[in-house]
């Protein structure tokens, strides 16, 4: 079942510090949606609001038709999982222990994960092809592997919606594409995936839909190729860019966003 997320006249931010306003969004179920915008445009605030970590300052969020504000923490966690940016943990939990933590919303306060939870966690590791990392300490694996482990934890959470906060930040070139391939595969299984990103190129490559933000508002949303156009990106980033098509060989073309050489920056 693919859950759709809808916001109605949503205002985000803090009581004395509004960030986003009047946001009407529809995040399509079962698709990958990329959220783009310059630093400080309110992406992270929107993300935290959609996850229920921050109270909306106005408007409404509907997740699968239910008002987010009426759901308890545990109920939200069963619907939406959060993949944070890779951080360094202080305690060397094993990878399996980290993935098992994804089972928390399904367990009572006094329970620990059982055999079924272990099977689900193992399945999540298998799905991301990192089965052999299970016994390694989370602190001793590479940044790219950690990102995959955090995604596996979100899978173990079995939430139909997954939010990923810049999953490719701080990853090397190859790992960026490895993670993006995983994101694509996961969406194939009917999950709704929202990814915040700093890379128009990535969004053009893996996202079905895109949301473009500027100064706390939504500039455009829709199918990626229609939203991420040269003029729209130039406007948002305050720098002339255009979308170029690059032949990737084997008859395939890849769209990339490049600075426009024909216009000066002012």
């Amino acid at each position: 079942m693919a859950l759709e997320i809808e916001t109605r006249a949503l205002a985000t931010g803090y009581p004395n510090h509004p960030v986003g306003r009047d946001m009407n969004l529809t995040i399509a179920g079962g698709r990958v949606t990329a959220l783009l915008g310059p630093n400080g445009c309110g992406k992270t605030t929107l993300f935290r609001t959609l996850l229920g970590l921050l109270k909306p300052q106005g408007g409404q969020i509907l997740i699968g038709g239910d008002d987010l504000a009426r759901l308890s923490r545990g109920e939200v966690a069963k619907r939406a999982a959060y993949v944070p940016q890779v951080v360094e943990g202080y305690f060397p939990f094993t990878v399996l222990d980290v993935v098992l933590m994804g089972r928390a919303p399904h367990l009572g306060a006094f329970s620990a994960p059982g055999a079924e939870d272990r099977r689900i966690a193992q399945g999540a590791l298998d799905e991301l092809r990192i089965t052999d990392l299970a016994r390694r300490p989370f602190t001793a694996i590479s940044g790219g592997q950690r990102q995959l482990v955090l995604i596996a934890r979100a899978l173990a959470q079995q939430a139909p919606v997954i939010f990923m906060d810049e999953p490719t930040a701080s990853l090397d070139f190859a790992n960026q594409f490895h993670v993006l391939d995983c994101v694509r595969r996961l969406a194939g299984a009917g999950r709704t995936i929202v990814v915040s990103s700093h890379h128009p190129d990535h969004a053009l490559r893996f996202a079905d839909r895109a949301v473009l933000m500027k100064a706390g508002g939504i500039l455009a949303e829709g199918p990626t190729a229609q939203v991420l156009t040269g003029p729209a990106l130039s406007d948002v980033y305050g720098m002339p860019v255009r979308i170029a098509e690059v032949a990737a060989g084997m008859g395939e073309a890849v769209c990339v966003c490049v600075p426009d050489p024909h216009t000066s920056a002012d």
Binding site: R48, L51, L53, R73, G74, V76, A77, K78, A80, A81, Y82, P84, V87, E88, G89, Y90, F91, P92, F93, T94, D97, M101, G102, A104, P105, L107, A109, F110, S111, A112, P113, G114, A115, R118, Q122, P137, T139, A140, Q157
Partner: protein, 344 residues
């Protein structure tokens, strides 16, 4: 993958092994001291204590074992396990491997509360109550101060420094009370108690302390798996459905209750709450369901061992606080050198 029964059998085996080791150590420790008592006599005296059937042992041996050694050994176990379990909890809750009851100011806060109660000549229950209230006040202040320092580069360091500052203020409060205390009546009690000692602990003290320790550790035991989630960032834990503010408050109250109730009977004993969780983590890993029992076992064995050495190694008793620092400091340096790698 291991099946559940295999895991349970192994855990059960480890628990029996661990408890057996504690029992054996307890038994052995009861035989040593200024007045040696043979293994056989200790066994007979303990048997008599448990069953009530009179045994053929000297009254002196009976008095030494039952009135002096058993309460002291039991208090070593209780104090060791309470402080180390509290330390492991604070470390998980504050996401900080460098905190412990003494570093967060809980010990000195509880100390101030207890000294104030002694100063006001309040009854034993009030000493415990004041220790808890002041201990909780201290850790709340430390946490509030560390949260108020916005945009700190190293939140771990800020929390530790806040603990040092609040601990110093509590220490100054204790100094004032020591200065004002009646030198013939209250001062010796305060001083003796501040050095941290198990020598004066009686059965009745133990009877007061253990229910409070159990009340503190019980929720930790039941919530043991959830405690892991607190080691994640707040946003991450909340996105996993955890009410972080409530759980943190509950866990801190529990750990502080366990700490302050043993501080109220044994005074300020440092190091245990810091080093034992590290050593336990080194053996069983950071997963709290495994860490908590390992910490409790190692904490009780550690303090029982150190106190027995303090008591019996030389003809004059070495103060526990002194020996504990001599043993604890190098152990911590060793842990620091080893663990630094795995934190990052």
């Amino acid at each position: 993958m291991e099946t559940a029964p295999v895991i349970w059998v192994r855990r059960g085996g480890l628990a029996v092994l661990g408890l057996g080791a504690v029992g054996l150590l307890f038994f052995a420790a009861a035989t040593v001291g200024q007045f040696p008592v043979s293994f056989g006599d200790v066994a007979r005296i303990l048997w008599e204590g448990v069953t009530g059937l009179p045994q053929d042992v000297s009254d002196r041996a009976r008095a030494v074992v039952m009135d002096i050694r058993v309460p002291r050994l039991a208090s070593a176990l209780l104090v060791g396990l309470a402080l180390s379990a509290a330390g492991a909890t604070y470390q998980a809750v504050f996401r900080n491997p460098l905190v412990a009851p003494d570093i967060l100011g809980v010990t000195s806060g509880a100390g101030l509360g207890a000294v104030l109660a002694i100063f006001l000549s309040l009854p034993v229950a009030a000493i415990q109550g004041m220790a808890f209230v002041f201990g909780l006040g201290a850790v709340t202040l430390v946490y509030a101060v560390s949260r108020a320092v916005k945009g700190a580069h190293d939140p771990i360091l800020v929390l530790v420094l806040a603990g040092v500052v609040i601990g110093a203020v509590m220490g100054a409060g204790i100094a004032v009370l020591t200065y004002l205390a009646d030198p013939y009546d209250q001062l010796p009690a305060i001083t003796f108690w501040l050095m941290g000692s198990l020598a004066g602990v009686t059965f009745s003290d133990l009877g007061n302390a253990w229910p409070a320790v159990a009340l503190g550790l019980g929720p930790l035991f039941f919530l043991r798996w959830r405690v892991n989630l607190m080691s994640l960032g707040d946003d991450e834990a909340r996105a996993l459905g955890v009410d972080t503010e409530r759980l943190r408050l509950l866990l801190v109250i529990c750990a502080t209750l366990a700490t302050s109730s043993v501080v109220a009977i044994a005074g300020t004993i440092g190091w245990v709450g810091l080093i034992i969780p590290h050593m336990a983590r080194f053996v069983v890993g950071p997963e709290f369901s495994r860490l908590l029992p390992a910490t409790i076992l190692m904490g009780s064995v550690y303090l029982l061992g150190v106190d027995t050495i303090a008591r019996a190694a030389t003809t004059v008793e070495i103060p526990l606080g002194v020996l504990n620092a001599f043993v604890g400091a190098p152990l911590f340096l060793w842990v620091l050198a080893r663990a630094r790698l795995s934190w990052r």
